[in-house]
Amino acid sequence: MVADHMTEVSHVENRDAWLAAIVESSDDAIITKDLNGIITSWNQGAQRIFGYSAEEAIGKPVAILIPPDRRNEEPGILARLRQGQRIDHYETVRQRKDGTLVEISLTVSPLKSADGRVVGASKIARDITLRKQSQQALRDSEERFRGVVDNISQMAWTATESGEATWYNRRWYEYTGTTFDQMKGRGWRMLHHPDHMQRVVTNFDECLRTGRVWEATFPLRGKDGRYRWFLSRAIPIRDSTGKIQLWFGTNTDITELQEAREALASSHQELEKRVAERTSSLTEAIAQMEEFSYSVSHDLRAPVRAMQGYAQATLEDYGDNLDERGREYLNHIVRSGERMDRLVRDLLVYSRIARTDLQLQPVSLDRLVSDIVSHYPEMQQPKAEITARGPLHSVIAHEPSLTQAISNLLNNAVKFVAPGVKPEVELYSERQEDRLRLWIHDNGIGIKPEYRSRLFGLFERIHNSKHYEGTGIGLAIVRKSVERMGGKVGMESNGRGSKFWIELASAQTD
């Protein structure tokens, strides 16, 4: 029994010591006071927060901790205590021994005697200065963030993970003229253009579901009722577990960009249209040109032919009645007529070569040259000698055009020789990779270097017309036709005749 009692006492004593140890080691200030507000106990935590030691504080009114401007708080707290009420986490300010203020969270509970009467109160005060500071810092940082985001030229907003709007920046309200009440939830839909709404919402929901960054371009209605184009972007902001807490989005006005793009597109269209118009007027001009060439071949040649024909007829029928000079005059008319007729025909050939579509295919130069020579008695023995040194091979060409070019060159080769010299022409070919160069080497009068640049021009004549007939179109035809076949022409002259060449794609496949 005694032992039991002792055990119980020691147990009770132990428990008190244990509780006292908890109270003493607490970071919070744990204070008790009686109903008159006189401090009855004071722990280490209280000393740390308020600066008074237990000896200094116990027996003093609790009012020593209350700053002068908060003295009116205490009677209210005491009144509530007397009624047995508890005060939980009341945030207020208290004064330390050194007079500085400390922010605390206060919990006050009535202390009751065994018979239930309220005899005092326990106060637990927690120093919340740090918490307050970090809250303030958070508020400041949020303030700064809003300050920045409110003043950017873009519109910005936040939304929940399900896409309900929670906040918009100032620029948003300035542009849209709306209020947050209109916008909250999915109220923002009212600003979308009906033609684009479905696309935008579908796209946005897709990103909400997948957590992918949202990017879209669409028009939004301004307070003036007009739509402007925005490039919109939103990123998910996640907590430490990776769960999406909110979406932060911006809308950038790209109307001017869009307008510039449209202007560019329309000016491009305008350009295309103009090109089409020009092309069609060019086509028309070409058609007219062809019509003109056609008329020239019919109408212009008719009177020339008539003059020539009548002069010839006069010579034949009445030549005996004329003296030598009369016949010479008529001969001049005949020759001039022939020359005019040849000029017109050559010009027609030139214009035809310049405008026809050329179908290219392999052409054997050996066969082509022999065909040409067989057509012209002045290229054959005994008048001239044209020989090929080795096989000439084949090229890719348009046969009628190549025939025209080579016969013009051969005609020149046998025509431009010194009086009394028999024309001798040698042909040979040289392959250079995929090209083939046909050389035509004559024993003619050659061409002075200073005239060579003019050689292939239209109407260029570099030999005296008294001795050497020509229209000045022949070599222009050669160049035009070879160029139309993707080839080149050129010449060399070393004092012993001229060496003309034509270069075209080789038809050999090796």
Partner: protein, 143 residues
């Protein structure tokens, strides 16, 4: 075939070309009778025996036609097309005699059934070859 040889119908609007054609015939010593019409419409009237040509005895069908291409009213190509579509005229040889050396004209003329395509002026030698060697054997078969 007439008694005097082949009957030629010349379709030509240029009087000088008519002169040169007659002269070339004469030089080739081809003394064939020749009828002249001066435009495409007249050519069709002559060949169909209409209007002033309704008397076939006075305006018999020719054995050979020399046809210019550039003609007033109906052009030479249209005359060729007309002839091609008339079964009664099928045996008549049509020789185009034009100042056009254009390949497209030559091609079109042959497509429309021309027998020959000559670029003016017609040389006596060419006419002789055409009207004796080319056409005579056919005429002999007819006889």
């Amino acid at each position: 075939m007439t008694q005097n040889g082949m009957l030629i119908l010349l379709v030509e609007d240029d009087e000088h070309d008519v002169f040169f054609f007659r002269r070339a015939l004469a030089k080739a010593e081809l003394q064939f009778p020749l009828r002249l019409v001066v435009d495409g419409e007249q050519a069709v009237q002559y060949l169909s025996g209409e209007g002033q040509y309704s008397d076939r005895a006075a305006h018999p069908l020719p054995d050979v036609i020399f046809l210019d291409l550039k003609l007033p009213y109906l052009g030479g190509m249209e005359v060729l097309e007309y002839i091609k579509n008339q079964p009664a005229l099928r045996d008549i040889d049509v020789i185009v005699l034009t100042s056009s050396p254009e390949e497209r004209d030559r091609k079109r003329a042959f497509e429309l059934g021309a027998k020959e395509y000559l670029v003016k002026p017609a040389a006596p030698k060419t006419l002789q070859q055409l009207l004796t060697i080319h056409t005579f054997p056919k005429a002999e078969v007819k006889l």
